[in-house]
């Protein structure tokens, strides 16, 4: 059971990604699909952050008093996720603008009614 205890946060990230994949594959409302894409994004970000985590570690920020650099968590995944969040916002904004244009053209956001997008 120690595997479960040690890696439960990875399980959470993975569950979030799976929920997002399910929403993307199953839902037919375009806004919900975009929310699903965002859920996958959040899950991946959480996964990267928790991959750099060290138990009883501190934030990688020096704050006045003498602080051991050896106890800080890995700063590289945090910087990566900072990048990934901004890219995620860009993707979200672009997808939403496409949804707005589609709604203006078809007067619906239901993917089953937008004939050209059926799969």
């Amino acid at each position: 059971m120690s595997f479960l205890e040690d890696y439960v946060h990875y399980g959470g990230c993975f569950a979030l990604i799976m929920v997002g994949l399910y929403v993307v594959l199953v839902k037919s409302n375009l806004i919900k699909v975009i929310i699903g894409i965002n859920l996958i994004d959040t899950g991946i970000n959480l996964f990267l952050i928790s991959a750099g985590y060290i138990r009883t570690g501190t934030a990688p920020i020096f704050s006045g008093a003498a602080q051991e650099p050896g106890k800080m968590v890995d700063p590289v995944p945090q910087a990566l996720v900072l990048t990934a969040i901004v890219i995620g916002v860009s993707v979200l904004a672009l997808a939403l603008s496409l949804a707005i244009r589609l709604h203006g053209h078809y007067d619906t956001l239901d993917l089953r009614k937008i004939k050209e997008l059926r799969w």
């Binding site: 750099g52 920020i61 910087a79 916002v89 203006g104």
Partner: protein, 239 residues
């Protein structure tokens, strides 16, 4: 039927992933437990933690990584955000023309006054976060997002509009400042985005050389870009 196929597909993916990683030790925790988290050529997270304060003067190691060690990466990231904002504006330009400005109900007096009172405070807090990115948690992207949340308040609370021209000017100038700082580093020391200013004492506001300057530029750029995105989505940017 489609739902059934999707769910079985997802279950198969889950099973494969669980079986393949169930005995792996991965992440920093796993590396530490197997004694691998030493400072060497590969594990640069540890190296950054040990030396960032001496090398860049920034107390916030994440800010040092984002702006100094991987500054070029950040320039690309800002470019991606810019291209997304550009594409959004281009996509929504025609839609806005068709509908024209529709009349909106003005906000009530209480909402309007509260919004006018809060907007400068939100901007002040955003400016504080983006200027102190190298000593405290925060930085350009976070501060820019707070500034953009102030713009959301204006749209929703005051029912106001933002001057698109001034937003675009702020965005262009701050993006230009980022690139110019990079080229000054290239001219002075021979490498793009070199930290050419004095590092100062750690934990002071004027320390860490060019990191706060670049972070302020990034904050202005992200704030104006997100403000423009929100304005485009709300269809309320004045020409």
């Amino acid at each position: 039927m489609r739902k059934l196929i999707s769910v079985t597909l997802l279950l198969v993916i889950v099973m494969i992933a669980v079986f393949s990683v169930s005995h792996a030790m991965f992440g920093a925790e796993g590396a530490r437990r197997t004694g691998g988290l030493r400072e060497d050529g590969v594990n640069f997270g540890r190296r950054y933690n040990n030396r960032a304060l001496d090398e860049t003067g920034a107390a916030n190691v994440v800010a040092a990584v984002v702006v100094s060690y991987r500054g070029f990466d950040t320039l690309g990231e800002v470019t991606v955000l810019f291209v997304a904002a550009l594409g959004l504006g281009a996509l929504l330009y025609g839609a806005r023309r068709e509908k024209n400005a529709k009349e909106r109900e003005p906000a009530s007096l209480i909402v309007f006054t509260g919004c006018r009172f809060l907007f400068p405070l939100v901007l002040l807090f955003g400016a504080y976060v983006l200027a102190h990115g190298h000593v405290t948690p925060g930085g350009g992207f976070q501060g820019g997002a707070i500034v953009a949340s102030g713009f959301v308040l204006v749209y929703l609370g005051c029912r106001g509009t933002l001057p698109a021209g001034r937003l675009a000017a702020a965005e262009s100038l701050s993006g230009l400042a980022f690139v110019v700082i990079g080229f000054i580093g290239l001219a002075v020391g021979g490498s793009f985005l070199l930290n050419f200013l004095p590092r100062g004492t750690p934990l002071a506001l004027f320390s860490a050389g060019v990191i706060p300057v670049i972070y302020v530029a990034i904050g202005l750029k992200v704030g104006s870009e997100l403000g423009g995105i929100i304005g485009n989505l709300a269809g309320e940017v004045s020409e």
